[in-house]
């Protein structure tokens, strides 16, 4: 009798613990939505569409998200242009071409990169990469979108490698055997059979990497110069959504319009990463690679 009661209590406790994940997700949407909702009522959601982000001003404050969104987009696109060839190339190399011993050494070494805190990567960017970029392109400052993108690529690469590598490894051995038996070379098999079969997984890996890049805060904030301007040039300074929240939240009065506008930025960020994540997981699940 006592054990039956105990069994129930245990199950209930575990159930409650498992439910907290749902509660946290709902909490995140509620608390961000609440403040952003206040902003949408007064001063109104159309204020967010303006092209200027001037949150502190003696004349007129302006909370246009466009410069921040384009800033994040520019940095993200540049970062992915760098990430895809290196990340996918390395994952194919590690899973298909490297010798077994080489693979055993390379894998944990690249895992190390995933463990380096973003503020340390940002610091490295600040003292090493920014001066390099400044010198190499003859720019007035090294704090540009390109510098940020290079650091972000570094942070996305381990994610992309580890997930694409799993995808490439999950291609059934029989596919490769069939291709080789038909007389295809090792390289032909790799490019025409293995990689195409793993492609959905590789795409999902790139999407998850993109999610990581959009959400990264410290490294970008330290090296992109943080000028809230709309630009498409990789050599200009930009300000991302994440950096805006991190840099300005410390100084805003609680409950002010500026405070609430920052929560609006947070919602945009949350929805973007949420969308990417869900689609990537759907792809992985559909092709049974997750």
């Amino acid at each position: 009798m006592k054990t039956a009661w105990q069994e129930k209590a245990v199950k209930l406790t575990l159930f409650a613990a498992a439910s907290t994940s749902i509660l946290i997700v709902l909490g995140i949407f509620t608390f961000l939505g609440k403040e952003a909702g206040h902003f949408a009522v007064t001063p109104g959601i159309e204020k967010l569409l303006s092209g200027r982000w001037v949150p502190v001003s003696f004349q007129e404050e302006s909370f246009g998200l466009l410069p921040l969104i384009t800033g994040s987009l520019l940095v993200t696109v540049l970062a992915m242009v760098l990430t895809i060839p290196f990340g996918v190339g390395a994952s194919v190399y590690i899973s298909e071409l490297a010798r077994p011993l080489e693979r055993e050494i390379l894998k944990p070494f690249i895992e190390i990169l995933a463990g380096i805190p973003s503020v340390v990567i940002g610091f490295f960017g600040l003292v090493v990469l920014a001066p390099l970029v400044k010198g190499a392109f003859g720019l007035p400052t090294g704090f540009t979108a390109l510098t940020g993108a290079a650091l972000l690529a570094l942070m996305a690469i381990p994610t992309v490698i580890s997930i694409s590598e799993d995808a490439i490894r999950s291609v059934p051995e029989s596919y490769k055997a069939a291709s080789l038996a038909l007389g295809a070379s090792r390289m032909q098999t790799m490019w025409r059979v293995t990689v195409p079969a793993a492609l959905p997984g590789i795409v999902a890996a790139v999407m998850l990497g993109t999610g990581r890049v959009i959400g990264e805060t410290m490294a970008v904030m330290m090296v992109t110069g943080n000028a809230a301007v709309i630009t498409g040039s990789p050599f200009k300074s930009v300000r991302t959504m994440t950096a805006t929240i991190a840099a300005e939240m410390g100084e805003v009065p609680f409950g002010s319009e500026h405070y609430r506008a920052l929560f609006c930025v947070g919602i945009v960020l949350l929805l973007a990463t949420f969308g990417l994540n869900i689609i990537a997981q759907k792809v992985l699940k559909k092709y049974r690679m997750g």
Partner: protein
């Protein structure tokens, strides 16, 4: 013949891509270690900062980071392990289980700064904890929860079904089976996951920026409602906000080295533990 040469070229290109990543990692670590070592001294590690961080040591930041990590694990570990036990041993296929899994995946993808906003809104302001250790720990715990759940569940699933069936067949209840026959074999794997969570919690800056971290606070914390300094935030402040950035370079490198050593040391411990478990447990 031409084809063979192209293939060779592609192979070399990919090798170059891989090794250039390795080279960059190595140069980051080398740069931090090379410039950081001269800054490390007994005083640097055990003294309090003076003159807004220009002189003295980083003891409060080290203590702050350790306090945050311990508090975070104290919250996230039991919660994550219990969630994983539920998902692996009790949960049936259904709407609710799918919802939990979706929530975990979502949490894993939420940007750290958004966790910061959430922690600010819920713990700091709504629950009136203020910027405090407890607010920071709870925020970080939310962030590392998915890491702990996913790796714990993996560890539980690695225990063969026959161990459960044997125990159940002898008349043990479900919980007795889990406690006596499943958990003992999966605890090391679960711990590996939580160690990775520790590394993440120790290195993150954005969430603690909004919920706990103090710019400059030479005294040590007295209660869980105090603010603390933390290594990553201290490095950020020294490197970007300090009035004389160039002069305090050695302090920056020193702080970066201490942080890097802590985080990579923790990760290395997890990797070694994982290798040991794999070697010992061959079902």
């Amino acid at each position: 013949m031409r084809k063979a040469r192209t293939q060779q070229a592609i192979c070399w290109l990919m090798r170059a891509a891989t090794y250039s990543i390795v080279l960059v990692i190595a140069s980051i670590i080398f740069k931090i270690v090379w410039n950081g070592l001269p800054a490390i001294s007994w005083e640097f590690l055990t003294a309090r900062p003076r003159l807004s961080g220009s002189e003295g040591g980083i003891l409060p930041a080290i203590v702050g980071t350790l306090v945050l990590v311990v508090g975070t694990i104290a919250v996230a570990l039991p919660l994550g392990m219990c969630s994983a036990i539920y998902l692996s041993e009790y949960a049936k296929q259904g709407k609710f289980t799918r919802a939990i899994r979706l929530a975990i995946l979502t949490l894993a993808g939420v940007p750290s700064i958004v966790f910061g906003l959430f922690g600010l809104g819920l713990f700091v302001i709504f629950l009136r904890f203020g910027a405090s250790i407890i607010a920071g720990c709870l925020t970080l715990a939310c962030m590392i929860l998915p890491i702990i759940i996913v790796s714990s569940e993996e560890a539980l699933r690695a225990v063969p079904q026959s161990l459960r069936e044997g125990s159940l067949a002898l008349g043990a209840t479900k919980w007795q089976t889990i406690r006596k026959n499943v958990l003992p074999y999966s605890i090391p794997g679960m711990l590996t996951g939580s160690i990775l969570g520790i590394g993440r919690a120790a290195g993150e800056t954005a969430p603690i920026l909004l919920t706990v971290a103090a710019f400059y606070l030479p005294r040590l914390p007295k209660s869980i409602f105090d603010q603390v300094m933390a290594l990553p935030y201290h490095l950020y402040i020294l490197a970007t906000q300090h009035p004389d950035v160039e002069k305090v370079r050695p302090m920056q490198y020193g702080t970066a080295l201490v942080l890097l050593t802590l985080v990579l040391g923790v990760n290395l411990a997890a990797i070694l533990l994982r290798i040991r478990i794999r070697r010992r447990q061959k079902w």
